[in-house]
């Protein structure tokens, strides 16, 4: 699947974002997140999908949305030069849309471009950049994984 005119849009709080559909592997209904002590910021644990362990990356701290979650977007990104798969909790329905990629006006952090679709405009997330920003080892203390 490498159709550059297709995108997946999803809400994080009040704001809707988009990812290139080639990055999105699937959508999951809410599933159990397994937590264990670790030191990585923004990783809240893992979920298991067909025997595969997938880290759950919570973007709330960076993009500022509420705790509710309706789906997990399973997406592929590059992290430290390696291709990784992550689960991103999102707060509402996701849509597969067709659209046109445009340049973002000015440099907006974590936004690679804008998507024009159905008369709306969505920030097209730079997933590699946001993941690199969010997922960092905490110094000194383990992350309290028992939220």
């Amino acid at each position: 699947m490498n159709d550059s005119t297709r995108f997946v849009t999803f809400p994080l709080g009040e704001q809707h974002y988009a990812l290139d559909s080639s990055q999105v592997k699937e959508l999951l209904m809410p599933v159990k997140v397994y937590r264990f002590p670790h030191t990585m910021s923004s990783l809240e644990g893992v979920l298991v999908r067909r025997g595969t362990v997938i880290p759950v990356c919570d973007l709330r701290e960076t993009l500022g949305h509420g705790p509710e979650r309706n789906f997990y977007v399973i997406a592929q990104c590059n992290y430290l030069g390696r291709r990784e798969v992550i689960a991103i909790p999102v707060t509402g329905d996701c849509q597969l849309v067709q659209g046109v990629r445009g340049e973002a006006s000015g440099a907006v952090e974590f936004v690679a471009a804008v998507l024009h679709s159905g008369g709306r405009t969505f920030p097209l997330l730079d997933l590699d950049q946001i993941v690199a920003h969010c997922i960092q080892p905490a110094r000194g203390m383990a992350r309290e994984a028992m939220r």
Binding site: K32, Y34, F36, P37, M40, R50, P55, P137
Partner: protein, 150 residues
């Protein structure tokens, strides 16, 4: 709903993120700081009661490690000692639950790249549960460097 469309064309994640870290033999499941962990049974010398702490430390020279504290779960209830082979280090834990055999073990996903890669050998997929498998060599080394709480 658009989600349905996505589900129809959804791509499976074709291969695991990493190969099986090891083919584990029996493991001992234990709790610490309110969470469950596992340690390979053949790396444990014995299990002792927490009331033997002083004996173990002073008479046998065993270094004690409050496991929950070390992994950031805060000071735990310490009622059992998991003495690691060859006996110079023991993990202080809340309880030893049971043994489990031949669980599936997978590597930690690559995004976990902090101390957890030292703490754990991998993750057990066990009865609809994911349990970190303790890397005993790290804890023995930590004990040798005085990481114990006492």
């Amino acid at each position: 709903m658009a989600v349905k469309e996505l589900e129809r064309r959804s791509l499976s994640i074709a291969r695991p993120l990493g190969p099986a870290a090891l083919t584990a033999g029996p493991v001992i499941l234990f709790t610490a700081g309110g969470m469950r962990f596992a340690v390979a049974a053949d790396e444990v010398q014995e299990v002792r009661g927490g009331d033997e702490r002083t004996t173990m430390r002073k008479l046998k020279g065993t270094e004690l490690i409050d496991f929950a504290l070390q992994v950031g779960l805060g000071e735990g209830i310490l009622e059992r000692l998991l003495v690691l082979k060859p006996g110079e280090c023991a993990l202080e834990v809340t309880d030893v639950e049971r043994m489990a055999s031949i669980p599936k073990v997978v590597s930690l996903p690559g995004m976990f790249r902090g101390m957890e890669r030292q703490w754990y050998r991998g993750l057990l997929l066990l009865e609809n549960e994911v349990v970190p498998l303790v890397r005993t060599e790290f804890w023995r080394k930590a004990a040798g460097q005085g990481a114990g709480h006492e």
